[in-house]
């Protein structure tokens, strides 16, 4: 009987973080879609509306946490997929640091963009 299959070893910090970020992202990604496509229609988005939303501290912090968790979940997912496909040795090390750098740059740039949309700071 097929009881259990997972491409991950159920051990370690990255394994746990991938699942904790998943649980958070399930809620926040659905909220993001609902707010910016159904509550506010995407075609009617203006900078003024974005600035009002982003200037609320709770919303701003949620969006920054959304960025950080989505980046980790996505970049770690790509790394896991590549390792699962047989990536090893020097290539694995290069991909690990390359993805970590890309993720870090995305977070830095994402926070810069978020700050440009707010009047908090």
């Amino acid at each position: 009987m097929a009881d259990y299959y997972s491409s991950f070893e159920p051990k370690g910090t990255r394994w746990l973080l991938q699942r904790l970020t998943a649980a958070f992202l399930v809620v926040v990604l659905a909220f993001h879609f609902m707010l910016l496509h159904f509550v506010n229609h995407a075609a009617e988005i203006t900078f003024q509306g974005t600035a009002i939303r982003m200037s609320q501290l709770g919303y701003f912090l949620t969006m920054v946490l959304f960025l950080v968790t989505a980046t980790f979940h996505g970049v770690n997912g790509v790394y896991n997929a590549l390792v699962n496909q047989g990536l090893s040795g020097t290539g694995k090390t290069a991909v690990k640091y390359g993805l970590a750098l890309a993720g870090l740059l995305l977070i830095v740039q994402g926070v810069r963009v978020a700050l440009a949309m707010t009047t908090i700071i």
């Binding site: 009987m1 097929a2 009881d3 259990y4 299959y5 997972s6 491409s7 159920p10 699942r19 998943a22 649980a23 992202l25 399930v26 990604l29 659905a30 879609f33 496509h37 159904f38 229609h41 995407a42 075609a43 988005i45 203006t46 900078f47 003024q48 974005t50 600035a51 960025l67 989505a70 980046t71 996505g74 970049v75 997912g77 790509v78 997929a81 699962n84 496909q85 047989g86 890309a102 995305l106 740039q109 994402g110 810069r112 963009v113 440009a116 949309m117």
Partner: protein
């Protein structure tokens, strides 16, 4: 206690006719994951170029939203995101050891629910573009 399951190599995609529900779930979760992470980088890049000043931001977003193909791509993105969310919930339950006996049925439920949500969302996503 978990047991290993010899399902053969899923990476050998030439065997796709023999794939079980769980293997299709794996393939679709990987595919939608690649799309979402690609979109995440694109999304931040587009917002970065748009957030020069308020007028540029509003004009860029409204110009993009006036293009029919963009609206259809958004429907595609919704489909990808909804499936990844629903199948992701299924995976969280699998990891918790809940509902293992119905993991194939929960995959079919993810597909049907994704289709229903996407079809119901099409009028909202295409509103005003034609």
């Amino acid at each position: 206690m978990s047991q290993s399951y010899d399902r053969g190599l899923i990476e050998d995609f030439g065997r796709w006719r023999e794939f079980s529900a769980g293997m299709w779930a794996w393939v679709l979760h990987k595919f939608t994951g690649w799309v979402l992470v690609g979109y995440l980088f694109t999304h931040v890049a587009v917002l970065s170029t748009a957030t020069v000043d308020g007028t540029t931001y509003t004009n860029t977003l409204q110009a993009l939203e006036s293009v029919v193909i963009v609206r259809f791509l958004e429907v595609g993105l919704l489909a990808v995101a909804v499936f990844h969310i629903l199948n992701g919930l299924r995976l969280l339950f699998v990891d918790l050891g809940v509902g293992l006996e119905s993991q194939d049925r929960s995959f079919y439920a993810s597909l049907i629910l994704t289709a229903a949500i996407v079809v119901a969302s099409i009028p909202t996503f295409l509103e005003g573009v034609f």
